[in-house]
């Protein structure tokens, strides 16, 4: 369960003054559901997800991951979630196994549980061939699998994906999409951000559309299609975002 409660993030920028990257965003994602955060570049997706993952601290408002408050107990909240983005790289001089073990230990797993978990995950993701290979020697696909294993090692109930398929080839992107689906099947709460409509259509149970740091619309894909009278999701998106986009350009 993820609850975002009036999340705000403001930065001071020398040229533009105060920038509201995220402006009063509230939503809820339930277990066994995939929540898609849809928005253009710079809309505030990454900042929102980073606040959920407690990498950034909210200026105002808060969020709770399975009841753990991200402002009051950031370490406890972080233990509830697995965070994956194209920016979360691997340590080049560690092997795939060492990488996963490192994050298992940081998540407080004892050595016997850790060994069991690592063996199980490496078998499930078919990673035993490159277990002892250094991360800088892995192919993109192998790296993605290792990253997935890294997020899964402590079996978190909440999964946060920030544009997980950005810049990946089709086959590697499919692995990620499959993995997100699997998370839902296992009853995890999943939130992911993207600007690819096809991914949203394939995966999401609930969609939130974000622009200029504000959550402009929320609902199932069907509800959004009905509300805006368009079949094509892209058209729906443009209808919602365009007025705000023009306003932003004018500024």
């Amino acid at each position: 369960m993820i609850e975002a409660i009036h999340l705000c993030k403001r930065f001071q920028d020398k040229k533009r003054g105060e920038v509201r990257a995220v402006d009063d965003v509230s939503f809820t994602c339930r277990p066994g559901e995939i929540y898609g955060l849809l928005g253009a570049n710079g809309a505030g997706k990454t900042t929102t997800l980073r606040m959920l993952a407690t990498i950034l601290e909210p200026t105002d408002g808060t969020a709770r991951l399975c009841g753990q408050d991200v402002v009051e107990h950031p370490e406890a909240a972080r233990a509830q979630c697995g965070f994956l983005s194209t920016a979360t790289a691997l340590y080049p001089r560690l092997t795939a196994q060492e990488m996963v073990e490192y994050f298992g230990r940081l998540n407080g797993l004892d050595e016997s549980t850790l060994k069991k978990r690592v063996d199980e995950i490496f078998a499930r993701l078919d990673m035993n061939d490159f277990r002892d290979r250094r991360c800088d020697k892995l192919s993109t696909g192998m790296k993605q699998k290792t990253s997935i294993a890294r997020t899964l090692v402590h079996d978190p109930p909440v999964m946060i994906f920030d544009e997980p398929t950005l810049g990946l080839d089709i086959m590697t992107a499919r692995t990620i999409i499959e993995f997100i689906r699997e998370c839902r099947q296992r009853g995890k709460t999943v939130i992911f951000s993207t600007h690819v409509m096809r991914e949203v259509e394939k995966l999401c149970d609930v969609v939130g559309i974000i622009q200029n740091g504000k959550l402009l619309a929320e609902g199932t894909i069907e509800q959004l299609r009905e509300r805006y009278g368009e079949q094509d999701l892209e058209e729906v998106f443009v209808k919602i975002v365009a007025p705000h986009f023009a306003a932003q350009e004018a500024r």
């Binding site: 993952a53 407690t54 990498i55 950034l56 601290e57 370490e75 406890a76 972080r78 233990a79 979630c81 965070f83 983005s85 920016a87 979360t88 790289a89 691997l90 340590y91 080049p92 001089r93 560690l94 060492e98 490192y102 994050f103 230990r105 940081l106 998540n107 407080g108 250094r134 890294r150």
Partner: protein, 404 residues
């Protein structure tokens, strides 16, 4: 606050560091090889220069040689001087360094000698040029001997005792032990090397663990794990400290081993003049240990400082350009400590870096002022704690971690 995670971070960083060739070179190879290479180079060049200077006679041109045949004969007898006949371009020859100096005897020098004022013997030199100065010295020495001979002859001719002209003699004699004489010079050098190595050893790991993480994109990965930022920065700091101390420790070990080798194999004997004590110093175990103990707070100070600065950078390159000026800043106090006459005072004892450098000078000469040692150790610890606190604070700042 459990420190378990600090240990986990430290062990992982250590494992990565041991797999990094650049870290291994700067922390292990450089301190071990630097001294032998430096000293062998220094001794080689020094003995070459000294040997050459010894076998080569200084070239002196004599102007007006006919005015003073006896004086010229005296010059010719000197082992250090080669007398050349007069040439018209003597001035330019001095300027081009083909001759070291020229001596000019005034007219009727010899006939006037001892009877009336014989005038001034002029020695023409190239001011500020080392070889020319040495040549002039040799000429003066030889002519002074000649003057003394003339005086003694004149006294004898008048049946006066020769003590009339020279009632007493003077001689300098060294009573400080060789340990003290060379320790003062070496102590400053050791402090300089120690400070430089402490900084250099920690530099690459500090950059790799902060700006390097940002550059490779692993910063976001590690920040999404439940480890607290304080524990994370402490684990990283400990690794940088380990590298810095390893470098300092290896340097001190290599130094004391090298000094021992110099003594055992008489490597510097050719450098000192006969009759003087050979150029050698021994660092006892106590000196080695105390220099290393002084290096600990210094390494803490540098490690925390390096992390703070490198964390601010977005890339390895950017971090290096921030740290390069730091190198100069750090070198200044240690060079100042090498200047003669700069000694420990209570005020200087609280100036960071300078105090450790000055103390090293004392430690190597075998002097242990325990009050100063305590004061310097504690004040450096205090500075180190301050900078470490700053490093931890910097790690909490989003504007530093996610600077774009």
């Amino acid at each position: 606050m459990s420190l378990r995670n600090v240990g986990i971070v430290y062990r992982k960083e250590l494992r990565e560091a041991l797999r990094d060739r650049r870290t291994l070179i700067t922390t292990i190879l450089v301190p071990l090889l630097m001294l032998p290479v430096l000293t062998v180079g220094f001794i080689g060049v020094a003995s070459m220069v000294v040997g050459k200077a010894k076998e080569q006679k200084a070239k002196v041109m004599v102007l007006g040689a006919a005015n003073a045949p006896d004086a010229v004969a005296q010059l010719r007898q000197s082992k250090k001087i080669e007398v050349l006949p007069e040439a018209a371009d003597w001035k330019s020859q001095i300027g081009e360094k083909t001759i070291g100096a020229a001596v000019e005897f005034p007219p009727d020098f010899q006939s006037n000698l001892g009877q009336r004022p014989a005038g001034t013997v002029k020695i023409y030199i190239y001011e500020g040029e080392l070889k020319s100065g040495l040549t002039a010295g040799a000429v003066e020495e030889s002519l002074k001997d000649y003057r003394d001979t003339v005086v003694v002859e004149r006294l004898a001719a008048n049946h006066l005792p020769k003590e009339l002209a020279k009632p007493f003699d003077m001689k300098q004699e060294n009573v400080a032990s060789a340990q003290k004489v060379f320790g003062a010079v070496l102590g400053g050098m050791i402090a300089y090397l120690l400070i430089f190595m402490c900084l250099n050893g920690g530099m690459h790991p500090a950059i790799d663990l902060t700006a390097g993480e940002k550059e490779r994109g692993t910063m976001e990965t590690i920040l999404s794990s439940p480890v607290s930022r304080t524990h994370l920065v402490l684990g990283k700091f400990l690794l940088v400290l380990t590298a810095s101390l390893t470098t300092a420790g290896l340097l001190i070990l290599s130094l004391s081993g090298w000094l021992l080798a110099i003594r055992l194999f008489h490597l510097t004997d050719g450098l000192s003049d006969a009759g003087q004590p050979p150029l050698q110093v021994v660092m006892g175990p106590l000196a080695v240990l105390s220099v290393f103990i002084m290096a600990i707070p210094l390494a803490v100070l540098f490690s925390a400082g390096l992390i703070t600065i490198a964390l601010f950078a977005k890339s390895h390159k950017e971090a290096q350009s921030y740290i390069a000026p730091l190198m100069f800043l750090v070198v200044i106090p240690s060079v100042a400590a090498m200047l003669p006459g700069v000694d420990l005072t209570p005020k200087l004892a609280i100036i960071p870096l300078l105090n450790v450098s000055l103390l090293c000078k004392e430690l190597v000469t075998g002097v242990y002022h325990w009050n100063y040692i305590a004061l310097i150790f504690l004040s450096t610890c205090l500075y180190a704690a301050g900078v470490l606190f700053l490093a931890v604070k910097m790690f909490q700042r989003e504007s530093v971690l996610f600077r774009s």
